[in-house]
């Protein structure tokens, strides 16, 4: 024993560090990653690789050459952003579009605010929305899942896109559903057009349960989003089933599961308190449905989360932890 250590209490520390938490998120995303590669083939693998590598490299170079601070890629957060960005893109996205997305996600949405913990908006979503607005052709060019080594890309539209298009042309919801043969089990297990991460709800839910078990996140934000979507769409659907899609369809299609389980629950950009989280979730669910039903885009989860991200500081101000011995 040489010099003894002296510090204020406590003298023990939980083993859960930032890197452990972020690594758990990566592990939780693995089922979805595997499923997306199986469905969409090597092209999806390319998108994933480009996205993760460029996110990590950009963070490394920004910390090294611009901020001149200790490198932060060891905390795995850049890898998480990379995977989430890739899962939010169609597998047909060209590599350079993915790269631009990564630059916006890490370079603009994260590092300009000062890196992990400082950003206001979810980096992966900022990257995705930037690409959606800048390169709408690539971003709405969905491919049907074609298997690991499939080459014949069959392009199509997402269920939400089909419905929106159809409704604009005057068709009714049940007609469109029947016409395209959408079934709920198909939506739950796979094989619907969309971005890679939207393909299989079950894989995402498995990851979500893993995060809950590991106590990385609490379920309240996700439940509040899904509950709001279900409740609000039920009201609209009961009022007019011809015009509005039903709750189950709304829960299972699009990026809702991915968004509510992995994007909205991002620590940095979600409220600190459970109460705040529930309000945050209600906001996301409501805005998502409003965009789906009345907006010009077929899907609104990304926008909804980003809009609610901007409200988080206010939610943190309004909602506080219940204090001991105080009214």
């Amino acid at each position: 024993m040489d010099k003894i250590l002296v510090s204020p209490n406590p003298h023990l520390h939980s083993k859960t560090t930032t890197a452990v938490l972020m690594r758990d998120v990566v592990i939780a995303l693995l089922p979805a990653v595997v499923v997306s590669v199986v469905f969409y083939g090597w092209k999806e693998l390319l998108v994933l690789a480009v996205s993760v590598l460029s996110c990590v490299l950009i963070e490394w170079s920004v910390t090294k050459y611009l901020l001149r601070k200790p490198c932060t890629i060891g905390d795995w957060s850049a890898a998480v952003t990379g995977i989430l960005l890739a899962l939010n893109l169609p597998s047909t996205t060209p590599w350079w579009v993915v790269l631009i997305g990564a630059i916006v996600a890490i370079g603009v949405a994260k590092m300009t605010f000062g890196g992990l913990g400082q950003n206001v908006f979810n980096p992966a979503l900022v990257g995705r929305v930037f690409l959606l607005i800048s390169f709408p052709t690539y971003m709405t060019h969905w491919v049907q899942p074609q298997g690991l080594f499939g080459v014949d890309a069959v392009t199509g539209a997402t269920p939400l896109g089909v419905i929106k298009e159809g409704l604009m042309q005057g068709a009714s919801v049940p007609e469109l559903m029947a016409g395209h043969g959408y079934s709920y089990s198909q939506m739950l297990f796979a094989n619907i057009g969309g971005s890679a991460g939207e393909a299989c709800a079950i894989a995402l839910l498995v990851g979500f349960v893993y995060l809950l078990v590991r106590k990385v996140i609490k379920p309240w934000i996700t439940l509040s989003i899904l509950g709001t979507v279900a409740a609000v769409s039920a009201i609209f659907w009961l009022a007019n089933p011809m015009q509005f899609t039903d709750p189950l369809f709304n829960l299972l299609t699009g990026g809702l599961i991915l968004g509510s389980c992995f994007m909205a629950t991002d620590y940095v950009t979600s409220p600190m308190t459970t109460k705040g989280g529930i309000v945050f979730g209600i906001g996301i669910g409501f805005i998502t449905l409003m965009i789906r039903y009345f907006g010009s885009y077929p899907e609104g989860v990304s926008f909804a989360i980003l809009i609610m991200n901007s409200v988080v500081p206010l939610l943190n101000k309004w909602f506080h932890q219940k204090k001991y011995g105080r009214a």
Binding site: L5, L21, Q321
Partner: protein
Amino acid sequence: MARRTFSIGGVHPSDAKISRDCKIEVLPIAPTVYIAVAQHIGAPAKPVVAPGDKVKAGDVIAEPGAFMSAYIHSSVSGTVKSIGPRQDLSGNIQTVVEIEVEGDEWKEGIDLSDTLVTDIPEDPKAIIEKVRLGGVVGLGGATFPTHVKLSLPPGKKCEMLIINGCECEPYLTSDFRTLLEKGEQVVVGTALLMQALGVDKATIAIEDNKPEAIEHISGIVSAFKAKGGKYEGIEVLPLMKKYPEGGEKQLIDAVMHRQVPSGCLPIDVGAVVDNVCTALAVYEAVQKDKPLVENSVTVTGECFPKQANLMVRVGTPLRYIIDYLGGVPQEAAKVISGGPMMGKAVANLDAATLKGTGGLLFLTREQTKRMPESSCIRCGKCSEACPMGLEPFLLRRLYKAGDMEALEANAAQDCIMCGCCLYSCPAGIPLLDIVSQARGQVMGIMRARAAAAKAAAEAAKPKTE
């Protein structure tokens, strides 16, 4: 039955009670003891001996400096060598009575036998006076003079006495061993405390990671019920293991489902909380006339070769205890007086034990070295863990901005220094270091304001008269 615990926050550090099976062993008396005159919250005691005086174990060597103070007794027999400054375990200078040990003679009138005395004196005042004369202080960590706690403020009524046997700190086992080995005395001590407080209900709260203790004490309590009187109102309550259950405020919440309002004392919700070792000390002071001169100390740590629970005379040098058990191990990087969550890191191994010393813990560098601080990821784990429902991340930000008003509004002064925030922070941010600074400054401001208000009220008085 649902596992009861406190309602807000808390963490679950690993139990690590590796010395739980070690019986309490009497440590041979050190050749020289150093008894500090400030061993309790409140005014330091005033030494009443002079160098050269002969003292016996149990003799008063320092008298209370104020109401909020306590008697200090010699823990050994021998000659007072000096009264002067000496570094405590933090390296700060304290006034210490140095006694060179000669033999082991006790003051006359002290009953050192093992006979259990279960008859409770009638007069509460007599009990409190004996507790005061015995120099009994709270042994749960805060060393609050017990006679002050027992002297209820006028108009306040105690509804329940809670005996704290939680020992929620990892590693420590001295309360557990005391419950197992001196359970009868603890139960009698509980009844004495009930009599002093004039209360009919008492709960001995024990965390459910100590099933032996729960069983043992339950057995004693039910056997003693036949004696009637105060013994009838004693219950044993198992609580779910969660840190910091042994915190006074948390324990009241867990046992009584009441919360002590900010700035108030437990008695304001009708509760008085005392540690099991305090109950034992009360028993000894009242029934045996034996003052508080020794206490049980857990010496433990994975890297420490010999785990032990020792009965140690107050004022024994830490180094003497450690050497008795084989010296400081090579791998040990930190020595902690108390538990790993709220204990104090020892900077000076030549310091001596105090009445409140409950443990000596050795941790390795891997176990205890703080990780480098990285940026806050706003996960909110600190605020989930805080048993007072504070938001440490917010308090840190406000402290850095120097916003004292906002710190007060966000209850920085309510911090109980349990360390849950820093324990749970994944980014290794020294939250408690900062919050405790904020707490100190806010408390200073509040005290200054209260003093100013009092002065203003007094200045206004003559005008109205």
